[in-house]
């Protein structure tokens, strides 16, 4: 009897310890980035582009990467939306109940979700080669759009699946076609879910470096055309950290802080939006 009590107790302690280790790793990472980044963060970092000798420790900032990342991820999110929403609508409104195609598509999207971002980068690179383009904002947008497509699509799919069945029935009973139901009922009712999907995908896209390393290249100026290379925040962090100069490495920490802050902000925003918009929908 005693052995069982000891076993119970030690298992409990072990489990609590494991949970503590995992949560403290999160705190440790955020803490390190904040402490290290905050001391080298200044206004120049976010208002100026790199000037001559920036990577040797001279004046400048990473505005090019901040704007580049926003353009690139924004473009990719819009592109992914045009692919994701139709697929999510097809899976839920057009596909028949228990359709083989729908379950195969969901399965394939789940597998696609697991494909590493470097593979999307390499594939994007082969696309660029095929069309004779060089690393550019457009190339980055396409690679990141493919990367976030399965994430966005499955999130939208789940959100439409949660919709009360009565709403579909009511809409069809009024004589609406599936297309009309999709545009006038589903999109309105699922707006919070769809927006959350959009933001999750945006957050994933803005933090990813491996997919843009071949496809978007890097540039010290703010991109003015789709066919010119564009800088991105994760790559700015990476390049600054690989220089041998401590001043530039400090800026890498500050850039990492900016990137982390953007991502935390997006995750906060999606939570708030979901809560705010929830009052407009039928439960």
């Amino acid at each position: 009897m005693n052995w069982r009590a000891t076993e119970e107790k030690s298992a409990k302690i072990l489990m609590a310890a494991a949970t503590a280790v995992i949560l403290s790793s999160l705190l440790l990472i955020l803490g390190t980035v904040f402490v290290k980044g905050f001391s080298s963060l200044n206004l120049d970092m976010i208002t100026r582009t790199p000037e001559g000798g920036y990577y040797l420790g001279k004046e400048g900032g990473i505005l090019n990467a901040i704007v580049g990342s926003l353009y690139l991820t924004g473009g990719a999110t819009v592109l992914a939306l045009f692919l994701s929403l139709p697929v999510a609508i097809y899976l839920n409104l057009y596909a028949r109940r228990g359709s083989r195609l729908a379950s195969a598509a969901r399965f394939s999207l789940d597998v696609l979700w697991g494909v590493p971002s470097i593979v999307y980068g390499a594939f994007g690179f082969t696309l660029l080669l095929a069309f004779g383009l060089r690393a550019s904002l457009l190339g980055g947008i396409i690679a990141v759009a493919l990367l976030i497509f399965p994430i966005m699509c499955r999130a939208m799919d789940e959100s439409i699946r949660m919709m009360p069945a009565g709403l579909f029935t009511a809409s069809y009973a009024l004589g609406a076609t599936r297309l009309e139901t999709a545009l006038k009922v589903v999109i309105r009712q699922c707006l919070p879910g769809l927006l959350t999907a959009l933001l999750i995908a945006f957050g994933r896209g803005i933090g990813d470096a491996a997919s843009v390393i071949f496809t978007a290249g890097f540039s010290d100026s703010i991109p003015v055309s789709l066919f010119r290379p564009a800088a991105t925040l994760p790559l700015a962090v990476f390049f600054q950290l690989s220089t041998p100069f401590p001043e530039v490495q400090d800026r890498a920490y500050a850039s990492a802080l900016i990137l982390t802050a953007v991502i935390l902000l997006i995750s906060l925003l999606s939570r708030l939006l979901t809560r705010k918009l929830r009052k407009n929908i039928v439960k």
Partner: protein, 299 residues
């Protein structure tokens, strides 16, 4: 209301368009694999597959492309990460699902999601700032080894933290799918909660837990930036966790600049991306099939 032909027309054509998009989206994996295969044909034509995969000499300038050091590096790093992550994640998932009050669980879940959202360069920076010096100054000397800190172990620790959210998330769902009645029956027979967990819940959830781990493995296999920053990147087969490693994704990312200037180099790198894709898709398909079965059981 009369349904006008125009409305039916729109509905039909929208349906066809959506179907086409759905099929295209589902075939994306195949399209990616085909694109990479097309580009890796030149190297496959010149070298036998076995040589590429199992030769250890990597001298692109002399035209020797042996990927074995990179493949071995990938598996060393992933193996280390899994050894660290699995016990921790399993204990945490059991704690969250079986022991702690629901309020705590709902409080912890968003934190784990937060961990999933942190970009991999940030993990990399953290690894460089804390794990690498820790290994260099404390852990390696403790074992009487001198090491730069940029090692398999460093990459394993960073990767382990990166796969925590994947494994915990799936484990929680799988554990949640075990019927309540089974637990109650076990407790009613006089088993302690831990015995119930050990002999009933985990046994019942075992396939799903394996699937969760496999999903974590496939995530770790393809992780690039963080590993690139802490693994040391030396093209040799590691013989201990204190050796540097050069995993496949790091190889691809590190050489994007020069790959068009050396003959066959781009083909070799895109071939390695294809190998990576094949391995990851295999692991993913296996674990998803198990998970779909688990899901069916709930319904």
């Amino acid at each position: 209301m009369i349904i006008s032909p125009k409305r039916i027309f729109y509905d039909r054509w929208a349906g066809r368009l959506l179907l086409a998009l759905t099929i295209a989206g589902s075939l994306l994996v195949v399209i990616i694999a085909a694109g990479l295969y097309l580009r890796s044909r030149p190297i496959l034509a010149d070298y036998p597959l076995a040589d590429l995969l199992f030769s250890s000499s990597w001298r692109p300038l002399r035209g020797e492309f042996g990927f074995f050091p990179f493949i071995a590096g990938t598996f060393w790093v992933t193996g280390t990460a899994v050894l660290i992550a699995v016990p921790l994640c399993l204990l945490t998932a059991i704690f969250l699902s079986e022991y702690c009050p629901p309020r705590v669980r709902e409080g912890v879940k968003p934190l784990i999601d937060l961990l999933a959202g942190i970009p991999s360069v940030v993990f990399g920076i953290w690894g460089v700032l804390t794990i690498v010096p820790l290994i260099q100054e404390r852990i390696a000397p403790f074992f009487g080894i001198s090491s730069s800190g940029y090692t398999v172990l460093a990459a394993g620790v960073v990767l382990a933290i990166m796969v925590f959210p994947v494994i915990i998330h799936v484990c929680l769902e799988v554990l949640g799918s075990v019927r309540r009645g089974l637990r109650e029956a076990s407790l009613a027979l006089g088993a302690t909660r831990w015995q119930t967990v050990k002999k009933v819940v985990v046994r019942r959830a075992f396939p799903g837990i394996v699937a969760a781990v496999v999903l974590g493995v496939s995530r770790a296999l393809g992780e690039t930036m963080a590993v690139l920053m802490v693994a040391g990147n030396v093209a040799r087969v590691p013989s201990s966790v204190f050796d540097p490693a050069y995993p496949l994704p790091a190889l691809i990312a590190n050489n994007y600049g020069e790959m068009l200037s050396i003959p066959l180099y781009d083909s070799a790198l895109l071939f390695s991306a294809l190998v990576l894709l094949a391995v990851v898709v295999f692991f993913n398909v296996v674990s998803r099939i198990v998970l779909v079965r688990v899901e069916k059981r709930i319904e």
